[in-house]
């Protein structure tokens, strides 16, 4: 069942990439990033049984990935609130102070 899990995670990751590249709303961007992180976690868990199952390394890293995702969500949502106050919206196209 490892290979189907890998294929599934690949498909989910591609969906996440698609969302990141095409959505303009900051919150939706965050949603897409979460999808990509879950795809990665599926990969980690699937390989956990293949490589050194006794050490549980894959599962540990999936857990750590979830923790990182929590951090990312907290900071990201705080940023979205700050951006909304500053720019009056969550449309990332309007955030272009770096425009050359």
């Amino acid at each position: 069942m490892t290979t189907p899990a890998l294929v599934l995670s690949s498909v989910l990751f591609a969906i996440g990439v698609f969302g990141v590249l095409t959505r303009r709303n900051a919150i939706t961007l965050l949603v897409s990033v979460e999808i990509m992180m879950n795809a990665a976690n599926i990969n980690l868990v699937a390989f956990s049984r293949v490589h050194e199952p006794a050490a549980m390394t894959g599962q540990v890293f999936a857990l750590l990935g979830i923790g990182i995702a929590a951090c990312e969500a907290a900071v990201g949502l705080a940023l979205i609130l700050a951006v909304r106050r500053r720019f009056g919206g969550t449309d990332v196209q309007s955030i272009d102070l770096l425009k050359g």
Partner: protein
């Protein structure tokens, strides 16, 4: 080993630095320079010059006593060339140092009175001290490199002092002209120094002169090096064809003219030829060039001096003429006679200039048409001026007679034609100095009702230098007089030893005296006799003008040399400069730069669109990168 020689030039240099710092601090604080401060600056720099004089006399006495006072230290290395900072003293240098320091001291003293109430007096004294230091370094140095450094330093300070009244366009232009014209000659000297280093690897006097005495010194270089050195002397000593700057240099303050453009700096060219005499001796052709140019200059500028109406211009052309006498003597193989004339000339020409300055200071006028009868109101100035004039005219027993007799005698022995030319120049010398004296000091005021032009006697700080210089003009000739054994000439001992100059025939001495007296007599007939009545004295000038016609005008305008240079040298240079400015710089370089300046923002504008500032565009770029890297990794796995 002794520090006396260093101290001689270091003292005025320190004075100069102190005065410049003082002036800078004062102007930074926004203080307006007061008269008291200027007077103090004058006294400080006079004290500095007096210290130099005392030290120079001390050095001369210890040299006579046989003490070695030379100083040498390594200055820097360039490749194989080691340039030392070395000073030394021989007879020539000792005499020059004393003359320079003495005249400098008297001029400093005189300037305290003359510049009284002028603006920026402390800067004036700083520049005067700088000149004094540079000139003393010039005569004390013991190698050509140091000499060249000092040579340019005196040129720079001369520039500063000529242009001292820089708000007057004429003064600014005169300073520029003096600097640029002398630079033409300096280039020759510089090339000569390059050639010397190239040939010998040393710039030390003794080493170079030893090389000049060897058989290896021959061919093209043996002729070229003395002539190039002489080019430097021609520029500095205002000899034809580079004499044009000296009359213009009269725009500077009159004490400056006395010190720099009569007594010392212009004599530096004569000193240089005398100093480098072994080089000239090795190439007799170069000596002939020196003699002919000197004699030609002497005769030509004597004729010009007769026609000038500005007191200082007369004296300027007189200086050029007298420097020509010195050069002629050097060229005739009698360097001692030339330096002897330099020695006496320094005193009496400084005296004449300071006397003229006294007149200008008192009356505010400096053309002979406006002056007259000053002997009654300015007796000290008048009588000291008379002493200087008699010395210049070559009337015994004044100093000029003895030295001029030596010069003429040496020329008679070697170049009789030139001796005749110089006799004519002597006659003209007596004429123009007599004319100047009669017109300025005798007769009555030319302009009725001009109260200031009647003049008044100058303060003691100005009178004292006049009296001292008058005394020197009277007695300095005896140092080298033939009947007293030519002690100065033996002390100098330039050139090949044992070349005792032949005595001057008695008939020639008598002829020389007669020429001087005749010149003064002619001046009396033309200008002195009738000058009691206003306006009539200049009648002789008008007569001359009508008799000679256009030729008089040509002489009055100094044979149109300035006009010739303007047409042939300055005009084309200015035209070339304008072409390079408007044509090349404006059309080609500016446009290229402007075009480049337009191209760069254009390219930048194309590239800046990449930086959209939108995070998703950057993410897309990252995705492209990921695809590329993944493809690379998978391709690598296969």
């Amino acid at each position: 080993m002794s520090v006396v020689l260093v101290a001689i030039f270091a003292v005025p240099l320190l004075v100069c630095a102190a005065l410049f710092v003082g002036a800078a601090v004062a102007s930074r604080r926004g203080e307006i320079p007061t008269r008291g401060w200027g007077r103090l600056a004058g006294w400080i720099s006079s004290a500095g010059a007096l210290t130099s004089l005392v030290l120079a006399v001390t050095a001369l006495l210890s040299y006579r006593a046989g003490v070695d006072v030379s100083v040498s230290a390594v200055w820097f290395h360039v490749g194989d060339l080691e340039v030392p900072f070395s000073l030394r003293l021989d007879g020539l240098q000792a005499v020059m140092a004393v003359v320079v320091a003495a005249v400098a001291f008297l001029v400093h003293l005189y300037s305290v009175g003359y510049m009284h109430g002028d603006r920026d007096v402390s800067v004036y004294f700083a520049e005067l001290s700088l000149f004094t230091a540079a000139m003393l370094l010039l005569v004390l140095s013991s190698n050509f490199f140091l000499l060249y450094v000092a040579w340019e330093l005196v040129g720079a300070s001369s520039y500063l002092l000529i242009s001292f009244y820089f708000e007057r366009p004429a003064a600014a232009a005169a300073g520029k002209k003096a600097f640029l014209t002398t630079r033409v000659g300096d280039l020759g000297l510089l090339i000569a120094l390059f050639a010397i280093v190239w040939q010998t690897g040393s710039l030390d006097y003794d080493a170079v002169f030893a090389w000049a005495a060897t058989p290896g010194f021959q061919g093209a270089w043996a002729v070229a090096i003395p002539l190039l050195v002489f080019a430097g002397a021609v520029g500095k000593s205002a000899q034809f064809p580079l004499h044009v700057w000296l009359p213009d240099a009269m725009e500077g303050p009159t004490p400056v003219s006395a010190l720099i453009h009569a007594a010392t700096m212009v004599a530096a060219g004569v000193y240089l030829v005398a100093r480098a005499y072994p080089l000239f001796e090795a190439a007799p052709v170069s000596l002939d060039v020196v003699a002919y140019i000197g004699a030609f200059t002497a005769l030509m500028s004597a004729t010009v001096a007769v026609t000038q109406s500005d007191i200082k211009k007369v004296l300027a052309y007189s200086t050029i003429s007298q420097l020509g006498f010195m050069m002629a003597a050097l060229g005739a193989g009698a360097p001692e006679a030339g330096v002897f004339h330099l020695f006496t000339h320094a005193w009496f020409k400084a005296l004449l200039f300071l006397g003229a300055g006294s007149v200008i200071h008192a009356t505010g006028r400096q053309t002979v048409q406006e002056l007259g009868g000053l002997v009654r109101t300015m007796p000290v100035t008048a009588w000291t001026f008379a002493v200087g004039g008699l010395a210049l005219a070559g009337i015994p027993p004044f100093a000029g007679f003895w030295s001029k007799e030596e010069v003429l005698g040496s020329l008679l022995a070697h170049q009789p034609v030139l001796a005749a030319a110089l006799l004519v120049a002597s006659f003209l010398t007596a004429v123009y100095i007599g004319r100047l004296f009669f017109l300025v000091f005798l007769g009555g005021p030319r302009l009725a009702g001009d109260v200031r032009a009647r003049g008044h006697e100058s303060p003691w700080v100005m009178a004292l230098p006049l009296l001292v210089l008058a005394t020197a003009s009277l007695v300095s000739g005896f140092f080298g007089a033939g009947f007293l054994g030519q002690r100065l000439q033996h002390f100098l001992s330039i050139g090949a030893a044992g070349a005792e100059p032949p005595g001057t025939p008695a008939w020639f001495t008598a002829l020389a005296i007669a020429v001087g007296v005749a010149g003064l007599g002619a001046a009396w007939l033309g200008y002195g006799r009738s000058s009691q009545r206003a306006g009539e004295a200049l009648g002789f000038d008008i007569q001359l003008r009508s008799t000679l016609g256009r030729a008089y005008g040509v002489v009055e305008r100094a044979y149109l040399v300035n006009e010739f240079y303007g047409r042939m040298v300055v005009g084309p240079l200015v035209a070339a400069g304008r072409f390079l400015w408007l044509g090349v710089d404006g059309r080609v370089i500016d446009r290229a730069v402007d075009g480049l300046a337009r191209v760069v923002p254009g390219l930048g504008g194309l590239v800046r669109r990449v930086q959209s500032g939108e995070v998703r565009d950057y993410l897309a770029a990252v995705a492209f990168g990921v695809i590329f890297l993944v493809a690379l990794a998978l391709g690598g796995l296969r």
